[in-house]
Symmetry: C2
Subunit: 149 residues, 2 copies
DNA sequence: TACAATTTTTGACACAGTCCAAAATCAGGG
DNA sequence: CCCTGATTTTGGACTGTGTCAAAAATTGTA
């Protein structure tokens, strides 16, 4: 990928073909990138390793390095979001830009989406932002999943 | 530490001597534990490694393993809270039980406390808990600190 | 002080991820 | 179709964070 990326994904692209989306973001279209993007879409909250497996199943071969590179690229252009719960390797999803949150089981590590309770871009209002400019409020709910209670 | 700990810290203990606090929680008092507790108090949001350094400076020597064990013990009895921002090793603090949040600089990693905007134990109400029983809502605000803007 | 249980130390190890660098391959523009 | 730059592969070394297990030391208690 070029060192400097001008564009960032907006939600309009969501329904286009993967190749189109990538091209429109100034990202070169490769089989690996399309396959990784597909895998992330098909398996929300998958780990890099699971994506590696998934892509290998679909296009035959890809290097681990390339998976990491691609996930990084897709994250940079805003097509993929990385979440990293305590005690778990990073997980990736293509549901971006809607400020949704996650609920994680302390026992088995199960992870589910949670729509934001407050509304659109809600939590962005901290009580005292200490001079920071806030662009994201990441909420992790911790507890026990139904089967672990 | 015994396999099963009955007691959990309550805020009353905060002003007592470290040894007293530990004893009252049924935790054996050791130089290492007191020193780790002191270090966490003196350096909020420190990493395990920083705590290791700090404790070595104060009592001369401690093993890395013991720092991890102790932090785990202190967390179990509720004297210490562990937070783990994406891309950062775990950080520890002794400000517990007030459901406060954190704001993190994407550029330099600076981390500050943020009082909860909503009130006491607010975010525990997710929009849809999917059958989970929630006991904590961990909020990380992401942005740029004053000096990085 | 002596004993039993807990804690600490020690050293190896696991895991996720990064970094490297050269060679091979590929995508997109002309 | 050809070039050129971007991307991928390969294979390994390497880092940071954290864990495991057994031996040694310490704590609390009697
Ligand atoms: Mn999600
Ligand atoms: Mn804090
Ligand atoms: Zn569970
Ligand atoms: Zn900063």
């Amino acid at each position: 990928m070029s060192a400097h990326l001008a564009k960032v994904a907006n939600v309009e692209h969501s329904h286009s073909a993967p190749g189109e989306i990538l091209r429109s973001l100034g990202v070169q279209v490769t089989a690996q990138r399309v396959a990784v993007l597909d895998a992330v879409s098909a398996h929300p909250h998958a780990t890099a390793d699971q994506i590696l497996e998934s892509v290998r199943a679909s296009i035959g071969a890809i290097s681990r390095q390339s998976v990491y590179d691609t996930l990084g690229t897709l994250e940079q252009v805003g097509l993929v979001r990385r979440i990293q719960p305590t005690g778990s390797p990073a997980r990736f999803e293509n549901r971006v830009g809607d400020n949704h949150h996650h609920i994680i089981c302390r026992n088995c590590g199960a992870l589910s989406d949670v729509d934001c309770a407050v509304g659109e871009m809600p939590c962005l209002t901290a009580s005292d932002s200490h001079g920071y400019t806030i662009d994201e409020a990441e909420v992790a709910y911790w507890g026990l999943c139904p089967t672990c209670q």
